[in-house]
Amino acid sequence: MTCRDVLPLTGNYIDGELPEETCDHLQRHLLRCGSCRAEVDGLRMAVDVLRAATTPAVPSEAFIQSALATLAEELDIATVPAVPPGQLVLGIGTGRPSAD
């Protein structure tokens, strides 16, 4: 495997998406090629920093309730009595189409 072969695969390598055999070849190349090793390390560091700095934000329950009220009003949909989400899923699950 040459540097030209390795560069397009670095993203999949970082994500652990390479087939085992290809991964082995790539790792053997990294052992003897400082340039490709630096490429992989730099990309991995950028991705780690991105993930560490940007934890997905979570919507508040107050917003969810408010948005549902807005949607119901805008779409002219009758609101349903508030029930816990778990019960709601079970309740409307009875009307699902079959898998056939």
Binding site: T54, V58, A72, L75, P85, L88
Partner: protein
């Protein structure tokens, strides 16, 4: 994400018939994904909330056939992405001054030892230097954890093209982080 014709279509149809429980079911099922994406793009809880509400309004109003190929979730995120980009193209009243990076960390410092706020500012400043398409790909793939196929669907690209775009986006992010670190070092001298 689910394939077209999945049970999501059934629930959308129920919403269009005025079923409030179906609307709440679909909203709660996907609100975290759409909100997380919009917040990462806009960095404002208030703006993200408005985008979420507008996104679901459009989805429930538009006829399902307008969705075209792809999953319900992909359609939702495509609409949210367009709404986010519309907002980002408006004149911005508040921008993050780079001076706020202050003592932002070195990339060589272990992530768990640095000030998280400074790290966030650093990453936000780096993301601001990237093309919109790169930002969307990075947020969907690396922050929200969508697969390449799912991200390709949101961006309207083939999977191979998306993988190439994502690779370029990661390299651009790395270069932007390095540039910011160098500028920060020069400013400190």
């Amino acid at each position: 994400m689910r394939p077209p014709g999945s049970e999501d279509d059934y629930w959308v149809d129920r919403v269009r018939q005025g079923d409030g429980a179906a609307m709440e079911y679909l909203f709660r099922r996907y609100v975290h994904r759409v909100f997380g994406f919009a917040h990462a793009m806009l960095r404002s809880r208030e703006d993200a909330e408005e985008v979420v509400t507008d996104t679901f309004l459009r989805v429930f109003r538009f006829a399902p056939e307008l969705r075209g190929e792809g999953s319900f979730e992909g359609w939702l995120l495509r609409i949210a992405r367009n709404l986010c980009l519309d907002r980002l193209r408006r004149p911005r009243l508040l921008t993050l001054p780079l001076e706020e990076l202050g003592e932002a960390t070195s990339l060589l410092t272990p992530v768990d030892q640095v000030d998280r706020t400074a790290l966030r500012y650093l990453v936000e400043a780096a993301l601001d230097r990237l093309p919109e398409e790169y930002r969307v790909a990075l947020i969907l793939r690396d922050v929200q954890g969508l697969s390449a196929r799912e991200t390709a669907e949101v961006l309207g690209k083939g999977e191979t093209a998306l993988r190439s775009l994502h690779q370029r986006a990661r390299r651009a992010l790395r270069e932007a982080l390095r540039a910011l670190e160098e500028e920060d070092g020069e400013a400190a001298e």
